[in-house]
C-alpha cells in the first residue's frame, strides 16, 4: 500500500547551520508514528516542513502521492492534514463554544458567508456541540478560554485539531506540560482516534510514545539515527546512549 505521507531527502539549512539532513521516511494510512530525539535534533524543524510553515532547502514532501512541498499551511488542512501546537494555541478571548465554531468553519463551504449569523446557525451549533462533547468540554462551553485550567486547554487544543476531520494528524508534543494523569488521558485519547486517522507525533514523553506508537523514528543532529518498532527502540543501545537517561523528561524543550 502506498504511504499516506512521504518525505524524500528533506534537508533544511539556516545560514551555515544544517538543522535537517536528508530525511526520508513514510507513514502508512492508519499508522501511529512517533518522532523522537534529544533537544536540537531537528524534530521541530522537520515538523514545520510537514505542516507547511517552513520550506525545505532541498527534498520533497508527498501526501497521497501529490507533491505538497510548496503547499501553504491552510491548503494542507483542506487536503486532510491537521496539526496541534506544542504551546497551546487557542482563541483566548472567546468562549470554548466560539473556539469550536470557528475551528469547524475552517474547512466548511460557507466560511466566507457575510450574511448569515453564525450564532444562530443550527447546523454549526450542533456540530460544535458534537465536537465539544467528544472531548468532555461541552459543560465548559460558555467559559472564556483564558480562564480554563491548562489541562482543559490542552483538551480543547486537541479538539480543534480534529475539527477539520483530518486523515493525517500531526501532533506537536501533545503531553507538553501535563501531569501524569493528564498525560495518560491524552495517551488514551490518541489511541482511541481510530484507524481512519493516521497520527505522526513529536514527543519527549516516552510513556506516551510507547503507549501509542507502532513505529518510532529517532532523529539525531538532523538525521535519522534509527527507526523501528517500540520494542526494537526500547532495547536499542544507541537510543539509550543518545538519550542518556532522559526517558522520564515530561516537559518540552
Amino acid at each position: 500500500m502506498a504511504p499516506l505521507l512521504e518525505t524524500r531527502d528533506i534537508s533544511v539549512h539556516f545560514g551555515g547551520l544544517t538543522a535537517v539532513k536528508n530525511v526520508s521516511f513514510g507513514i502508512e494510512p492508519g499508522e501511529r508514528l512517533a518522532l523522537i530525539g534529544p533537544n536540537g535534533a531537528g524534530k521541530t524543524t522537520l515538523f514545520n516542513v510537514l505542516t507547511g510553515q517552513l520550506k525545505p532547502s532541498a527534498g520533497a514532501v508527498y501526501f497521497k502521492g501529490r507533491d505538497i512541498t510548496r503547499a501553504k499551511v491552510f491548503e494542507r488542512t483542506h487536503m486532510g492534514i491537521a496539526r496541534s501546537f506544542q504551546i497551546t494555541s487557542l482563541f483566548p478571548y472567546h468562549t470554548v463554544k466560539v473556539n469550536a465554531l470557528i475551528a469547524l468553519e475552517g474547512t466548511r463551504k460557507g466560511r466566507y458567508n457575510v450574511v448569515r449569523y453564525l450564532m444562530k446557525d443550527k447546523i454549526a451549533q450542533a456540530d460544535a456541540q458534537k465536537l465539544l462533547e467528544s472531548t468532555e468540554l461541552w459543560e465548559l462551553r460558555d467559559e472564556v478560554v483564558s480562564s480554563l485550567a491548562y489541562g482543559q486547554q490542552r483538551r480543547l487544543e486537541m479538539a480543534l485539531s480534529l475539527a477539520s476531520d483530518p486523515e493525517l494528524l500531526l501532533l506537536d508534543e501533545p503531553s507538553c506540560g501535563l501531569t501524569t494523569a493528564e498525560s495518560a488521558d491524552i495517551t488514551t485519547r490518541i489511541r482511541d482516534l481510530g484507524s481512519k486517522i493516521t497520527v505522526l507525533m513529536i514527543a519527549h514523553d516516552m510513556d506516551l510514545v510507547f503507549g501509542v506508537a507502532e513505529r518510532v523514528i529517532l532523529l539525531h543532529y538532523g538525521e535519522i539515527a534509527c527507526e523501528g518498532t517500540c520494542d526494537e527502540i526500547r532495547s536499542n543501545q544507541m537510543v539509550k546512549d543518545i538519550y542518556m537517561g532522559s526517558r522520564k523528561v515530561r516537559h518540552g524543550r
Binding site: 491552510f74 494555541s89 487557542l90 478571548y93 468553519e105 472564556v144
Partner: protein, 354 residues
C-alpha cells in the same frame, strides 16, 4: 425583530497589540434589554429636529457621518485586528468622488454617484491593500509592527499629495468647493433639514449591514484572525484573503461616510485624505472601545460635541484639546467609553430585573 448588538466580552487589560479586552463570563441577555436601546435611540434621532434648533440637527448629522467613519475603521481595527492609521484615504476618496463627479464630470444623480464612489474607493483599497499586507500578518515580509503603521500613514499622505498635484481634477491644495446639494431624482429639493434624514437613512442601512457582516461566519473568522492568525491558518482559513477583503469592505463604508461628508460641508480639501483625518478615525475607535459594536458611535457624539464647544469658546486651542482627548483616553479610560457604557447599562438592567 430586535437587534442584538453582539459585543466581545469586556473587562480591561492589554495584550500588547491592538487594545483587547480580557473577558468575563458572558451575560445572558434578553432581547428586550438589548434591542430596546437601539429602537429608543433611533426614535430619538428621528424626532429630534422637531425640538431643536437647526444647527444642532446639523451637529447630529455630523455625528452620524463621523460615527459611520469610525464604525468602518472598527471593522478592521476591532474585529480583524488591523490597526490602520490611514483610513482617511478612503474617507477622502469617497468625498472627492462626490466632488469630482458632480463638479467636474457633471453627473448629478446622488445614487449613481454614491455607487461610483463606493466602487472607486474599493478599487483604491484593493490596490493599496497589496503592499499593506505584505508587511502585516503571519507569513508576511517584515515582522516589525511599525511597518504596517507607517504604510497606512503613508497611504493617506500619498493620496493627499496626489490630490494636491492633480490640480485640474482635484482642485489642488485648495480643493473643490461648491458641491451641490444632493439630487435624489425624487422630485423634491434637498435642504439641510431633509439631508439629516437622508444621512440617517444611509447610516442605519450601513450599520445594519456592518452588524450582519461582523456577526456572520466571515465576521467570526475575522475575530479568529485577530486572536490567533497562526491557528486560523492551521484550521484551513486563507487569512490573507480575509484581511484583504475586510480591508476593502471597511474602505467602502469609509467612502460612503466621506461621500455624505462632501455633500454635507460642500467642500473637499486634501487634508480630508491626510493624517489629520485618519487621526479622527482612530480616536473614534480608541475612545469608543474596539470591542463594543456601537463604540465608535458614542465616541463620535463626544468628539463632535467637544469640537463644537471648542469652536465656540476656545477656537484657537482646538488642536490642544483634540490632542488632549488622545492622551486622556489612553491614560484614563483605555478600555474606551463603549465598555464603560455597556457595564453601566448592565447594572441598570440587572437592577431593574431584581
Amino acid at each position: 425583530m430586535a437587534k442584538v448588538p453582539e459585543e466581545l466580552p469586556g473587562d480591561e487589560a492589554y495584550t500588547g497589540d491592538v487594545p483587547r479586552a480580557v473577558p468575563t463570563k458572558p451575560m445572558t441577555r434578553s432581547s428586550l434589554a438589548v434591542g430596546l436601546p437601539v429602537v429608543v435611540v433611533a426614535v430619538i434621532i428621528l424626532v429630534l429636529p422637531l425640538f431643536i434648533p437647526s444647527f444642532v440637527s446639523s451637529l447630529v448629522t455630523k455625528m452620524m457621518i463621523y460615527g459611520l467613519f469610525g464604525m468602518s475603521l472598527n471593522i478592521i481595527w476591532g474585529y480583524a485586528g488591523i490597526p490602520s492609521f490611514g483610513h482617511a484615504a478612503f474617507f477622502g476618496a469617497g468625498g472627492y468622488a462626490a466632488a469630482i463627479l458632480t463638479l467636474k464630470v457633471g453627473i448629478s444623480s446622488f445614487w449613481l454617484n454614491l455607487l461610483l464612489a463606493i466602487i472607486a474607493t474599493a478599487i483604491i483599497a484593493a490596490i493599496l491593500g497589496v503592499p499593506a499586507f505584505r508587511v502585516f500578518g503571519v507569513g508576511a515580509g517584515a515582522v516589525n509592527p511599525i511597518y504596517f503603521l507607517l504604510a497606512t500613514i503613508a497611504f493617506g499622505e500619498l493620496l493627499s499629495r496626489v490630490a494636491i498635484a492633480v490640480r485640474p481634477v482635484t482642485g489642488g491644495s485648495t480643493g473643490l468647493s461648491g458641491i451641490p446639494a444632493p439630487h435624489l431624482g425624487l422630485g423634491f429639493k434637498m435642504t439641510s433639514g431633509r439631508y439629516y434624514y437622508l444621512v440617517f437613512f444611509i447610516t442605519i442601512v450601513c450599520l445594519f449591514i456592518i452588524y450582519r457582516v461582523v456577526n456572520s461566519r466571515y465576521g467570526y473568522a475575522l475575530r479568529g484572525i485577530h486572536d490567533n492568525e497562526r491557528r486560523m491558518q492551521a484550521l484551513g482559513y486563507n487569512t490573507w484573503l480575509y484581511k484583504y477583503t475586510s480591508w476593502i469592505i471597511a474602505a467602502a463604508f469609509a467612502g460612503v461616510a466621506g461621500f455624505m461628508f462632501a455633500h454635507f460641508g460642500g467642500t473637499m480639501v486634501p487634508n480630508n485624505l491626510a493624517m489629520i483625518t485618519s487621526d479622527i478615525a482612530f480616536l473614534l475607535v480608541i475612545m469608543g472601545s474596539t470591542t463594543v459594536f456601537f463604540g465608535p458611535l458614542v465616541a463620535s457624539v463626544v468628539i463632535v460635541g467637544v469640537d463644537y464647544l471648542s469652536s465656540v469658546y476656545l477656537p484657537e486651542r482646538w488642536p490642544l484639546i483634540f490632542g488632549a482627548m488622545f492622551v486622556v483616553t489612553i491614560m484614563v479610560i483605555p478600555q474606551g467609553l463603549g465598555v464603560f457604557i455597556l457595564k453601566l447599562w448592565r447594572k441598570v438592567v440587572r437592577g431593574a430585573a431584581a
